[in-house]
Structures are given as structure tokens and as C-alpha cells.
Symmetry: C2
Subunit: 296 residues, 2 copies
């Protein structure tokens, strides 16, 4: 298929490479030259703008850092909507706010283009291994059309309902993830301070009602789970900066909907505290260090 | 075995009954007459005080509402320690603060009595069905001696280390449970408000990193899990008042240890808000109603 790929950052680069590997004809666009040159060396064609990339594409994929980038890439004079073919499928894999996702998809629909929001989970590791999970919002028929393309970049595709719901699913899951992680950190540190062995405590929690992914798979206390970032000085994994971005989207969406998120709001503040201490580059489970001076 | 059972409340009553059923000789004591009479009709003997109950017992079991009750039942002139036989095993199944548990166990040790803290989970349903889980702190030898008695009242016995650690495990687990439950409630309500189907959202969370017992087993959104209290108007289950008690113990223990519990502290306030609204008798998952006027 002829695919336009716009946005060659940490995630976009390996995703585009996997599309090339799968035999698709790729035209790429990015504001910086280096990643464009790298993709061209691997067989892609370079475009001069988002519009230029989209012009002959059957599928347009965007992977951008935030809502304003997505709005600009689609809706300006040099944007995707100004040039895309009538039957081109538009697929935004960025994580942005649901409101913007719905607004841009509505503009696309006015032009006759089906557009899906399809934010991912799985990180750069998942992008490289083509094992990403896509949470997809939009028309079910468009979702079916997207599947073969998504299959070159990931392993799981979940249809979440109407336009914007991919974003809703992602920010709700990640807000709960942040809350569970901080809760696990607080419980583990409190238990350790009160004298219980952290591995023993984790074992009890993991067979009880406190069990969660943050306790049984990704425990933030060093040494409890050997494969978790906590056991390698909080390197790799899911960066605290990215968690802070997702919490910002959740809290903003909640504010727009006048929907209270009490623990979600405090979780955002705690991740801001972690970032303010200069720890935004560490794995998000390093939030446990807010609760102790000496576990890492 | 000759067992003294002190404290015949909602939990103590069915636990004592199961000990009688298992063929143990029971002497019971409680401040109110009615439950004592009921146990006597079922074959127990009545005692005039905690000391009187303990005098000839091989095992003394207490199931009391709070730390001061436990301190009084053991350490006053009419208390267990004034009368218990030298080799009697003392087993406190109350949920109290770890500091009191350790202090009373230390007094017992001075008299030569092994004492275990053994708070339970499983609620009145688990007490009646003899399927309780016991989290036990204290000497490993005493834990082995206690097992046959525990087996008449429950199904799982977890040794959590030294004295007080049963309480530590319970309050840490339940603090994390409260945080996960509120986080799940916030995520579910935010998602619903933003337009995603609650069952679909729960399904996505339950196969993602937000998964927790509160989302996959006890989801607070009505209709998501048919067997959960949310699907029967928040009746049955684990009362919000009891969760508030456990959060109080966790936050107090954290304060005594100067250990921060940011989400734990806010969780306590939110359960106090729920109780102030008159909803303390509902299942603790009804906390979701703080985040919406109309889901139940």
C-alpha cells in the first residue's frame, strides 16, 4: 500500500521502519532532516510537507507529540486534509486529548475522509518489536480497513467505539495506572518502614484485594521483581515525563467535562514533583523515591 | 482443645460457632449478654470476665473492635494476662494498630506467653463459611501451634514475620485497595462522561496496565460485573465504615513512622466524605457515587 508517515520521533521511527519491512511504499515527512534521511536510506521517499506526503497515499499515519501538532499537521494549508485523496484512510497514532481528536476527525469527515484515533501502548520497545497495542476510536468499517496496516506495527487492536474513544481509553487506563503505581509505592514503603519484608508484603498483596499490575508485574520496590525497572535503577520502561503528559491529558479532559478526579489530580502533582526534582527521564515507577531517600 | 473466645461481635460470633462445630471446648466472654447466651445454647460455657475465660484455656482468641479494647482485654486486672496459663497461646484476630499489637505481645512475652496478631480478611461471609484469610505476625513456632485452631475458622494462613507484621500486611493491603478502588471509580466515571461504554473500558483496563482487583473483580460501576456489590445497589461486601477504620490505622501508623502516604491520606478523606454523607453502611465500592450523582 502507499502510506504517508508523518512524525518520525522515538516512536514514529521504528513504526515507519516496520511498515517498510512489511513491503509498503512509504513517503515520510518530519520537521527535522536526520530521521527523514535515515528512512530514505531504508527505502522511503521524502516529502516537503504533510500535504505533499499525503497527496498520493492510500493511508496517512501521523505520530506526533501533542494536540497542537496534530491540529497543524491536518488542518493548515500545508496539512493532510488540504491534499489527501477522497478515499484515503487517516490514522492518528498520537496520544492527544479526545476533544481535539474528535474535532479533527469531524473536519476529515466533512471532506469525506475516514479518520481513526489510534493511540498506542507498549513504548519504544513495542514499536521496535512491532508488538504495540492500538486503542482505536472511529467508524468500525474504517477500523477493519486499518487492521492490515496496524498489523505491520503491532499485535493488539482494540476498537473502543466512536471517534475519540481510543484517546479516552488510553488516558483513563494510564490515569488508573499512575494512581495504582503511587498507591503501590506508598504501601510498599509504609510496610518496609513498619518492619515487614518487602518481598513478603508484595506476595501477600498479590494474592489479596490490593493486587494490581503495579504490584505484581512492575513493583516499584527494588529487588521485588527482577525484571522490573526498579531492579535496574529505574532505567528503561515508561518514562515519568510521558506519564506526566498522559496525566495532564486526563486532568484536562476531566476539567473540560467538569468531572472530578481527586486521586488523579494528586497523582499529576506528584509526577510534577518528581519531574521538578529532575527525575523525569527515569521510569515512572521511580515515583517511589518521593516516599523515601534511600531505596534506589 | 480448651479455647477461650473473647469478643462476640459480627465476626466473633460465626468464628466461635465454627470452633464449637469443630469440637473444641469453648468458654466465651463478651460485654453484652445476648451473643454469650446464644453461644451457650450452642454448647459454650460463659465466663464473667476476660481473665475468667482465659484461666483454664490452652488457646485464647480475641476478636475486638479497636486497639483500646485489645489493650484492656489483655492488660487490666480482669484481663487475659492476669490469668492465662503459662503455656497458653494468645491469638488476637482484631484489626488494630501494629504498635499496640507489638506492645501487648511484648507484655505477654514477659509472662512467658506466646502471642500472635492474626487479623483477618474475608468479612462476615468468610467468617460464616470458615474461609477467612489470616495474616499472622509473631514467633514461627507459635504460628505452627495456631494452625489447627485457625483451620477451624479459615482457609489461608500467611506468616508475615515478627510480631505486629500481620497488622502491617493488612493495613498496607487495605490502603492500596482503597486507593485502587477510588482510582478505578475515577477512571470509570471519567471514561463514561467522555463517552466510552463502561463495560468496554473495564475490558480494556483489565487487559492493560491499569488492571487491578478493584477493576477486574469488584468493579464499582453498576452492571460491569454482575456478582459485584455495584450490581446490587452496593449492599453486602465490605462496608465503607470498615474501610475507613483501616485507612485510619494506616494513616496513623504512617504518621507515627513519619512516612508520607499522599494518596492514602486523600483516600481517608474521601471515605470520611462518604461516611459524612451517611453512606458508611454501603459497600466500599459505592465511593464511586462521590464522583457522580446518578450511577446508583
Amino acid at each position: 500500500m502507499k502510506i504517508a508517515f508523518i512524525g518520525l520521533g522515538n516512536m514514529g521511527k521504528p513504526m515507519a521502519r516496520n511498515l517498510l519491512k512489511a513491503g509498503h511504499a512509504l513517503t515520510v515527512y518530519d520537521l527535522t532532516a536526520e530521521p527523514v534521511e535515515a528512512q530514505c536510506a531504508a527505502g522511503a521517499a521524502a516529502a516537503a510537507s504533510a500535504a505533499d506526503a499525503a497527496r498520493v497515499a492510500e493511508v496517512v499515519i501521523t505520530m506526533l507529540p501533542s494536540s497542537p501538532h496534530v491540529r497543524e499537521a491536518y488542518t493548515t494549508a500545508n496539512g493532510v486534509l488540504a491534499a489527501a485523496q477522497r478515499d484515503a484512510l487517516l490514522l492518528d497514532c498520537s496520544t492527544i486529548d479526545p476533544h481535539t481528536a474528535r474535532a479533527v476527525a469531524a473536519l476529515a469527515a466533512e471532506r469525506g475522509n475516514a479518520m481513526l484515533d489510534a493511540p498506542v501502548s507498549g513504548g519504544t520497545g513495542g514499536a521496535e518489536a512491532a508488538t504495540l497495542t492500538f486503542m482505536v476510536g472511529g467508524d468500525p468499517g474504517a477500523f477493519e480497513r486499518a487492521k492490515p496496516v496496524l498489523a505491520s506495527m503491532g499485535k493488539n487492536f482494540v476498537h473502543c467505539g466512536a471517534s475519540g474513544n481510543g484517546q479516552v481509553a488510553k488516558i483513563c487506563n494510564n490515569m488508573l495506572l499512575a494512581i495504582s503505581m503511587i498507591g503501590t509505592a506508598e504501601a510498599m514503603m509504609l510496610g518496609a518502614k513498619l518492619g515487614i519484608d518487602p518481598k513478603l508484603l508484595a506476595g501477600i498483596i498479590n494474592t489479596s484485594s490490593g493486587r494490581c499490575w503495579s504490584s505484581d508485574t512492575y513493583n516499584p520496590y527494588p529487588g521485588v521483581i527482577q525484571t522490573a525497572p526498579a531492579s535496574r535503577y529505574y532505567t528503561g520502561g515508561f518514562g515519568a515525563e510521558l506519564m506526566l503528559k498522559d496525566l495532564g491529558l486526563a486532568v484536562d479532559a476531566a476539567r473540560a467535562a467538569k468531572q472530578p478526579v481527586a486521586l488523579g489530580g494528586l497523582a499529576q502533582q506528584l509526577y510534577q514533583m518528581m519531574n521538578a526534582r529532575g527525575d523525569g527521564g527515569k521510569d515512572f515507577s521511580a515515583i517511589i523515591n518521593l516516599f523515601s531517600g534511600n531505596v534506589s
